[in-house]
C-alpha cells in the first residue's frame, strides 16, 4: 500500500511540474527505451527508414544507404522491426537508397515505387520514412469498398465525433464567455493523453486511475491558463485579435515543451491499446471504444443538463449572452469564466485520454484535432454549446463515412482515406458561404 501511495504522490508531483519545467519527466521518458526508433545522441537529426513488405511485415537485414548531395552519410542494415536508423548531421534534403541486392528471397517480385528516394529532414522532429514493397508499386491501394462498410464507418465516425464534441464544447463556451478563439485548445487534448501515458506506462497506475488523474490535472491546467494568462490580459483590456495571436504563441510553446520532454514518437498506453473487437451486427467495436463512447455521451449529457439547470450553468449562459448585463445582475463573471476554463480543459483532456486509446499518444495529437474542432464549432454556430456538439457529430461522421467506396452507375464515389480531413474542412468553407451563423447560431449582420 505505501508503495502505491508513493507512486501516486510522485505522479501528482511530476504532473504539477510537467508544464513549467520538468527535468524529472524528461528523465523518466528517456530512461524508458523507445519502442522502435532510437533517440539521437549526437548533435544532428534523426532519419528512420522503415521497410515493410506487401504483407506489412517488417523486412530485416536489408542495407539502406543515405546520401546528401552525392556524398554518403551512412549505411545500415534494417533491424528486426524493419527499421534502419540514421543520425544525419543537420536538417536538409537527403536521398535514401535501398540496396536491392540485399533483399531477402521472400520479397521476390516485389519492388519499391521509388528507389532511390529523396526526402527532407526538418529540424526538431525525426523523419520517419515508410518504404513499402509491393508487387504493383504504382497501383492504388483500396482499404474498403461497398455499401456494407458504411455501418462500420458510421460508428467509428460517431466515436470520433463524440471525442471532437468533448473538446469543441469547451472551445465554444470559452468563445461564448470571453470572445477568445483559443488556438491552444488542442493542447488540452495532448496534455490529457500525455499525462495518461505518464501515469499508466511510467508509473504503472491502472488506466482508469491514470485517466482520472490526467483529466483532473488538465482541468487544473485550464484554471492555470485562465489565472496566469487570460485573466491578466482581460484586465489589461487586450483586444480579441491580440489575444488570439497570444493563444497561437502559447499553443506553439506548449506543443514544443511537450515534444521536448516527451519526445516526438507515438506511444501506446500499457492497457487497452490492443483489444479484439466484438461484433454487433455489421459493426465490430473494441470494448474500450464502446465504453469510451458511453463515457463521452454521459459527460456530454451531464454538461448539457448542467448548462440548462444548475446555477453556474445558467450564469454561464447569461455571461455568454451579455457579459455586462450578467455582471450588473450580480453574477461573478470572473468566476464563471474560471469554471468554463476548468470544465472546458477537463473535457478536452478526457477527449485526449480516449483518443489516445486508438490513435496512440503523440506530442501533436491536439494540433491535428484543432482544425476539426474549429470546423465543428463553426458548423454548429460559434459560441453556442449545443451547436458545437451537433457540429462535432456531423464532422466526425462525415469524415469517416466519406471514405466509403461506393459504386454508383459505374462511378466510384468516396475519397481516399489520406484526404478524409480535407472533406470536413471543405464543408466548413461551404457552410460559411451559405449559413455563416452555423446551424444553431443567431444571425448577426456584419457588413
Amino acid at each position: 500500500m505505501p508503495r502505491t501511495l508513493r507512486a501516486l504522490l510522485l505522479a501528482v508531483a511530476l504532473a504539477a511540474t510537467l508544464l513549467p519545467t520538468s527535468v524529472a519527466v524528461g528523465a523518466v521518458t528517456q530512461a524508458t527505451p523507445a519502442p522502435s526508433a532510437e533517440e539521437s545522441t549526437s548533435g544532428g537529426e534523426v532519419l528512420n527508414v522503415r521497410l515493410r513488405g506487401e504483407d506489412r511485415a517488417p523486412v530485416e537485414g536489408v542495407t539502406v544507404i543515405v546520401t546528401s548531395e552525392g556524398e554518403e552519410i551512412g549505411r545500415t542494415e534494417s533491424d528486426a522491426e524493419g527499421v534502419a536508423s540514421f543520425d544525419v548531421p543537420a536538417p536538409g534534403p537527403y536521398t535514401v537508397e535501398v540496396d536491392v541486392t540485399t533483399l531477402p528471397p521472400e520479397l521476390e517480385g516485389q519492388s519499391l515505387a521509388q528507389n532511390p528516394r529523396d526526402t527532407q529532414v526538418d529540424p526538431g522532429t525525426p523523419r520517419n520514412l515508410n518504404l513499402l514493397f509491393s508487387s504493383d508499386p504504382g497501383g492504388e491501394r483500396r482499404t474498403s469498398s461497398g455499401w456494407s462498410t458504411i455501418p462500420q464507418l458510421f460508428v467509428s465516425g460517431l466515436r470520433f465525433g463524440l471525442l471532437i464534441a468533448l473538446a469543441a464544447l469547451g472551445l465554444s463556451m470559452i468563445f461564448g464567455t470571453t470572445g477568445l478563439t483559443n488556438f491552444a485548445h488542442g493542447e488540452f487534448v495532448t496534455v490529457g493523453a500525455v499525462l495518461t501515458y505518464v501515469f499508466n506506462n511510467l508509473l504503472e497506475l491502472p488506466f482508469i486511475v491514470a485517466g482520472l488523474l490526467a483529466i483532473a490535472l488538465t482541468a487544473a491546467f485550464g484554471w492555470a491558463n485562465d489565472a496566469g494568462l487570460w485573466k491578466p490580459l482581460r484586465r489589461r483590456g487586450a483586444g480579441l485579435i491580440a489575444m488570439m495571436i497570444v493563444s497561437i504563441g502559447f499553443g506553439i510553446l506548449a506543443r514544443y515543451v511537450v515534444a521536448f520532454f516527451f519526445g516526438t514518437e507515438t506511444f501506446q498506453y500499457r492497457e487497452y491499446a490492443i483489444q479484439a473487437g466484438i461484433q454487433f451486427g455489421p459493426v465490430s467495436l473494441k470494448p474500450a471504444d464502446a465504453i469510451g463512447m458511453g463515457i463521452a455521451v454521459v459527460v456530454l449529457i451531464l454538461a448539457g443538463l448542467a448548462l440548462l439547470y444548475t446555477r453556474i450553468g445558467k450564469a454561464t449562459r447569461a455571461v455568454a449572452d451579455n457579459p455586462a448585463l450578467a455582471a450588473a445582475s450580480g453574477i461573478d463573471v470572473d468566476r464563471v469564466i474560471r469554471v468554463v476554463w476548468m470544465v472546458g480543459g477537463g473535457m478536452a483532456g478526457l477527449a485526449g485520454v480516449l483518443l489516445g486509446i486508438n490513435q496512440g499518444v503523440s506530442w501533436n495529437l491536439g494540433q491535428v484535432l484543432l482544425l476539426l474542432i474549429f470546423a465543428a464549432v463553426t458548423l454548429g454556430g460559434l459560441g453556442t454549446a449545443f451547436g458545437a456538439v451537433i457540429g462535432a457529430l456531423i464532422v466526425g461522421i462525415l469524415i469517416d463515412v466519406s471514405t466509403a467506396r461506393i459504386e454508383l452507375g459505374g462511378i466510384t464515389l468516396g475519397i481516399p482515406t489520406e484526404l478524409k480531413y480535407v472533406g470536413a474542412l471543405v464543408v466548413l468553407i461551404i457552410i460559411l458561404l451559405f449559413r455563416p451563423q452555423g446551424i444553431l447560431g443567431r444571425r448577426v449582420r456584419v457588413g
Binding site: 527535468v23 528523465a27 528517456q30 533517440e39 539521437s40 545522441t41 549526437s42 548533435g43 537529426e45 534523426v46 536538417p91 534534403p93 528516394r117 526526402t119 527532407q120 526538418d122 529540424p123 526538431g124 522532429t125 525525426p126 492504388e140 478563439t181 490580459l233 489589461r236 487586450a238 483586444g239 480579441l240 485579435i241 491580440a242 488570439m244 495571436i245 497570444v246 497561437i248 504563441g249 502559447f250 499553443g251 506553439i252 510553446l253 506543443r255 514544443y256 515543451v257 515534444a259 521536448f260 482544425l371 474549429f374 470546423a375 463553426t378 460559434l382 481516399p416 489520406e418 484526404l419 480531413y421 474542412l425 471543405v426 466548413l428 468553407i429 460559411l432 458561404l433 448577426v444 457588413g447
Partner: protein, 330 residues
C-alpha cells in the same frame, strides 16, 4: 566552441534565402493584417501555390519557366478570390478559421499519394529550376566580403530575392501613401465609417487580399527556385505563424517592418541554433539536458514565446507605431 562559424551562420541567415522568403511572406501579410486588418492565417497557402505553380507547371505540364510563373501568380489570385468571397463580409475570426483551413487543405492535397503523378506526394517535386539557374549571369567564383561570401548560385539567389523584396517594399510604400492606401487603413480602423462614406469596403478588402497573396506567391517562387525543390510539409501552419512572428517583430503597418523583422528573426534563430548545436556536439551541454533533436524544438519554443510576449508587451513590434495599430477587434 567555434564562435567564428556561429557568427558566420548568423549573418548569412540574416541575408540568406530564408530571410528573403519570410520577408516577402510577411510583406504580403502586412498588406493583409497591418494595413487592411484582415486576419489571414493561411499565408502558407499563397506561398504553396507559388511554389507548386512552378513545380507543377514545369515538371507535370512541361511549360517553360516563365509561363509556370504566370500560372503561380494566377493561382494565387484565384485562391484569394475563393477565400475572400465567402468570408470578407463576415467577422474577422471567420476569415482566420477559413484561411487556416484552406492552407491545410492545399497542403494535404499536395502531399496526397492519390495525386502523386501531379504534385509528387509527400516528397514533393524537384528538378524544375534548371532554366532559372541557366539565367545566372555570375560566373563561378566567390562573391561578397568577409563573412558574407557566397558561391555564384547562392549569390544569384540572394540578388534575385532581395530585388523582389525591394520591388515589393517600393510597391507597398507607393500604394499605402496613395488615396487607395488611406481608404484601406481607414477600413482597418472603422469599417462602418468608411462604408458610410460610400466606399465599397468589400472590394477594397478583396483587392488587399489579392495583393498580399501575390506577394506571398513571390515568396513561394524564391523558396522553390533557390532549393530547386518543393516539399509540401514546408508549408504547414508553422510557416504562417513564423511569418506572423516576423511581421510583429519588425512592426506591422510599417513598410520596412517585415524586412527588418525577417533579418532579425533569422539572425536570432540561427545564432541560438548554432550555439546550442555546438554546445551539444562538444559536450558543453550534457545530453541529458539537450540532445540534437531537441535543439530544433527549442527554435519553435522561442517562436511561440516571442509571439506571446510581443503581442502582450509590444504589439507594435520593434519599429512600429502604437497609434497605427491598436489591434482591437470591433
Amino acid at each position: 566552441m567555434d564562435f567564428d562559424s556561429v557568427l558566420r551562420n548568423g549573418l548569412q541567415a540574416a541575408v540568406g534565402v530564408d530571410a528573403i522568403v519570410f520577408a516577402l511572406a510577411a510583406i504580403g501579410l502586412n498588406v493583409h493584417f497591418g494595413y487592411a486588418g484582415l486576419l489571414n492565417f493561411g499565408q502558407a497557402a499563397f506561398v504553396l501555390v507559388g511554389a507548386y505553380g512552378i513545380g507543377i507547371g514545369v515538371v507535370y505540364l512541361g511549360l517553360p519557366l516563365g509561363v509556370a510563373l504566370l500560372l503561380g501568380l494566377a493561382g494565387s489570385i484565384v485562391l484569394a478570390l475563393l477565400l475572400g468571397i465567402p468570408t470578407l463580409r463576415l467577422r474577422a475570426d471567420y476569415l482566420a478559421i477559413v484561411t487556416i483551413a484552406a492552407a491545410e487543405i492545399l497542403r494535404l492535397v499536395a502531399r496526397a499519394n492519390s495525386f502523386r503523378d501531379v504534385s509528387g506526394g509527400s516528397d514533393g517535386l524537384s528538378g524544375f529550376a534548371g532554366s532559372y539557374f541557366a539565367l545566372n549571369p555570375f560566373p563561378p567564383g566567390d562573391y561578397g566580403f568577409g563573412y558574407l561570401t557566397f558561391d555564384e548560385r547562392g549569390f544569384y539567389n540572394i540578388v534575385v530575392g532581395w530585388s523582389l523584396v525591394a520591388i515589393s517594399v517600393l510597391a507597398v510604400f507607393l500604394w499605402m501613401r496613395s488615396p487607395w492606401g488611406r481608404v484601406l487603413k481607414a477600413i482597418r480602423e472603422d469599417e462602418d465609417a468608411v462604408r458610410s462614406l460610400g466606399k465599397n469596403v468589400f472590394s477594397y478588402k478583396m483587392q488587399a487580399l489579392i495583393i498580399g497573396g501575390v506577394i506571398g506567391c513571390l515568396a513561394g517562387f524564391v523558396y522553390s527556385l533557390s532549393r530547386s525543390s518543393v516539399q509540401p510539409d514546408n508549408y504547414g501552419t508553422a510557416f504562417t505563424f513564423f511569418a506572423y512572428t516576423v511581421l510583429l517583430l519588425g512592426g506591422a503597418a510599417r513598410v520596412f517592418g517585415p524586412v527588418l523583422g525577417a533579418m532579425i528573426f533569422w539572425l536570432v534563430i540561427s545564432l541560438t541554433d548554432t550555439l546550442l548545436r555546438q554546445g551539444v556536439n562538444n559536450d558543453i551541454i550534457p545530453s541529458y539536458i539537450l540532445n540534437g533533436t531537441q535543439v530544433g524544438q527549442v527554435r519553435f519554443m522561442l517562436v511561440g514565446l516571442a509571439l506571446m510576449l510581443l503581442m502582450i508587451y509590444r504589439p507594435q513590434g520593434i519599429f512600429g507605431d502604437r497609434r497605427e495599430l491598436m489591434l482591437d477587434a470591433r
